[in-house]
Symmetry: C2
Subunit: 474 residues, 2 copies
């Protein structure tokens, strides 16, 4: 299938785009906040309906956490693609949204032209609903898709996909016919579109210092004047944290933190060299409102730092009186939310053990560690897999330069698809959006249409590429 | 005047105590939260009414912040006492109140018997309203008081008395006839009642680390994956803070922090030696839910630590995502609320300069310092002053052992009364309450009655003691 063969579907998409845009906005207006559970179940029902509307079968499967929406669209095709996505989003408590994050209004936003401003616009309810819009159009114009689809759409991605691993282990049979996994997303920026051949791993956890046998108030904050007599858990947390990192975050001082990291494959080193020029560093800094990169890194060094080095980040810190004005208080506890991002060769469970050991060694055995959700292993898929090669060809033929990365610096539970189901995976699509996890998360309106076209093309290409790869291996 | 001469007033107080208790509860039920302004103006009006009800004149005087209630009760007496108090309280957001902090319910609380549980029960709306109850009773039974009163009741004590200094400087004439200042409070614990001959000083301030030219996101938090490229203001704050204090808070490492501290006067050293046995250390730890004193201090060392050593306390720390669950975020700012408590010889303005210098020296000139409200100088009054001697005699004759301290480890703007008006001051009264600034702030019901009696006795003694001191100095 080439692009000419899809002209009729693309024309249909263009003609009906107003409806698709409305459907996209409508889906974004639903709250589906996994952290609080708000709107989760209702949204799962809606997603089930979306699968059924394109002619599939679907069921809502309970987990110990939020339900998973499972579905199948059997088109009698030779190959089957597993579509993995999520229907949950983060809260949207940031104060500086230009419009209600749940109103999904369209604004001219910065240099991006018309954009939908909404929590989930890019991560990931925007692409999810647009994917269904695309399938609907294809089926209307062409009939059956050239590939079967299996859907796994979870509601806990923003809670580290807590229930996903167990679900997959217990339900391998549900995915037996799948040939690859694809996660639809807006992957384009200025006609450059990224292909990540894997993901960094992640461990999210909390450290909590509480009053106890070492000192400090144990049940409640007490008057600040007693600082003369009683130790302060906030000071304790600060001192403990400061042992974990060097000046200017130059190195992580947790013993053995960098042990076992695998060297970057030669193929990936090459990909990086080809990509270093692609980042407009000044543009990036402007977009993210950052004045300066760490240690004035630039060019290839910047990319190497992102992709080959693990991080230990403070996501949030809290303790004592944090309201308006002042209150002299000696708090009884203080806590910090952190995440580690891991590169291949690092094991999440080991890493948490290293944090524990470090704290103990420095005299902070009282500081509690709580892991949030499931940790993710770092993982990668081969360059020569169907998922990657289909995406590469799709981008090239749709006029975007494919930018191939060893792995995504963000994190996702993709490793499970390799580890449990043995599937190659990739994430992508045309279209643009950004500011995920921040205020004014957006996607461009034009990008929604481009994305819909690219999804149709990806699904059309997949069986062809699969055949070619199979033949070339024989 | 001896206690026998007040029997009729005391009997009246006992007979009418139900009404006084109700009035006390009613006053505590009013919110008057200076941090938010809630109920402030209404409560100022009520206080004005209380002064008028005892036959005084009163006016509400505007300030740049919350209004001050000024009043006079001219009894044609020779001596005049300035009654300084406050009508504002802290917020009451602590989660573990056993009853609504604004309901002022009466409960059997711990070992203290019947107590009023309310924000402000001890600090300081409880004593304030009970003071007026006492005056009302005295005037009903005896007619004129033996001393004139001037009232200065402010609404910003919990905001470091921001407007008080300017008000006093601009209105010295309003206090020209005053001979001493008295701050009514519940000063008793197990028949031991404290007399503080001064107060520690305090500086409350915030340090804020923000993204800027050093690095870090400048406008909003960004995705935590970018920790590979972008510095984290929360790490920066942690590293900066950790330079300010030694391990286990053993010493404050801000350069020159301890410079200029005056040695404890011999008289105070003696008072401390007499007092060390008075603290039941195990009892105190139980009451404050603390397992262990700093560095296992005990006895005289404990008291010396409290009274002769300044502190640098973390009141609260905040940055990034502090909601439920996890969110991988690289925050754009992090801040910490702190207070320093100062002993004689230390100057609040100097101290803030030392913090600035310390941060600059360690490379943190970007970290902003904001002072909260006005700082308080440490100060003390002579042992042989009317205020102290009247209180001492009152306690002794009412059956409480007076416990004389060099100064209060808490802080209050009392230094202004010495510095601007040249008045000796003291704070005290019978009655017991505690847990100020915490959940379940309380005062005992019995203590309210004891306090009312003690106020009548204090006012009756004052002119006598003043005469005696005058004669002894001639």
């Amino acid at each position: 299938m080439n692009l000419d063969g899809l002209k009729d579907v693309f024309a249909y998409l263009e003609d009906n785009f107003d409806n698709d845009l409305k459907a996209t906005q409508q889906f974004l207006r639903r709250k589906s906040i996994s952290a609080t559970g708000e709107g989760i179940r209702e949204t799962a029902e809606v997603v089930k309906g979306m699968i059924e509307e394109i002619g599939g079968t679907s069921s809502i499967i309970e987990t110990p956490g939020h339900p998973i929406v499972y579905g199948k669209l059997d088109e009698g095709a030779r190959y089957t693609l597993l579509i993995y996505s999520m229907y949950d989003v983060l809260p949207a408590e940031e104060p500086d949204w230009i419009s209600d994050p749940w109103a999904a209004e369209i604004h001219d936003f910065k240099d991006y032209g018309k954009c939908i401003i909404a929590r989930g616009a890019v991560n990931t309810k925007g692409p999810t609903v647009a994917f269904f819009n695309a399938i609907k159009a294809y089926k209307k114009v062409k009939g059956n898709l050239p590939v079967n689809l299996v859907f796994l759409i979870e509601g806990e991605e923003e809670l580290s996909s807590k229930s996903l691993q167990e679900f997959m282990q217990d339900n391998k049979a549900k995915f037996a016919e799948c040939d690859a996994m694809f996660f639809p997303s807006f992957g384009e920026e200025n006609r450059v579109a990224s292909i990540f051949m894997g993901v960094k791993g992640i461990v999210s956890f909390e450290l909590k210092a509480k009053g106890g046998s070492w000192g400090g108030p144990t049940e409640r904050g007490i008057h600040g004047a007693f600082a003369a007599w009683v130790g302060n858990p906030a000071w304790r947390l600060v001192k403990a944290l400061s042992t974990m990192i060097g000046e200017d975050e130059k190195e992580i001082r947790v013993e053995g933190f960098y042990d076992g990291i695998l060297p970057l494959p030669e193929e990936s080193e090459g990909a990086l060299r080809n990509s270093a020029d692609l980042l407009d560093e000044e543009e990036w800094k402007k977009a993210y409102a950052v004045d300066r990169f760490k240690w004035d890194l630039q060019g290839l060094d910047l990319w190497k730092k992102m992709l080959t080095v693990p991080t230990l980040n403070i996501d949030g810190i809290k303790g004592g009186y944090i309201g308006e004005g002042s209150k002299t208080l000696l708090p009884h506890e203080a806590s910090v939310k952190m995440d580690m991002r891991l590169v291949p060769g690092m094991d999440p469970e080991d890493m948490l053990g290293k944090i524990r050991k470090h704290l103990d060694k420095h005299g902070y055995s009282d500081i509690e560690i709580t892991e949030y959700g499931k940790s993710y292993y770092p993982s990668s898929v081969p360059y020569n897999s169907t998922s990657v090669q289909t995406l590469k060809r799709m981008y090239e033929q749709m006029g975007a330069r494919p930018q191939i990365w060893p792995w995504n610096p963000g994190s996702a539970p993709y490793y499970l698809f390799g580890k449990i189901l043995g599937l190659p995976y990739v994430t992508g699509g045309m279209g643009h959006g950004s500011r995920q996890h921040s205020s004014n998360e957006y996607c461009t309106v034009k990008g929604v249409l481009d994305f819909e076209k690219s999804m149709i093309y990806y699904l059309s290409l997949f069986p062809e590429v699969a055949e070619e790869l199979k033949n070339s291996q024989q």
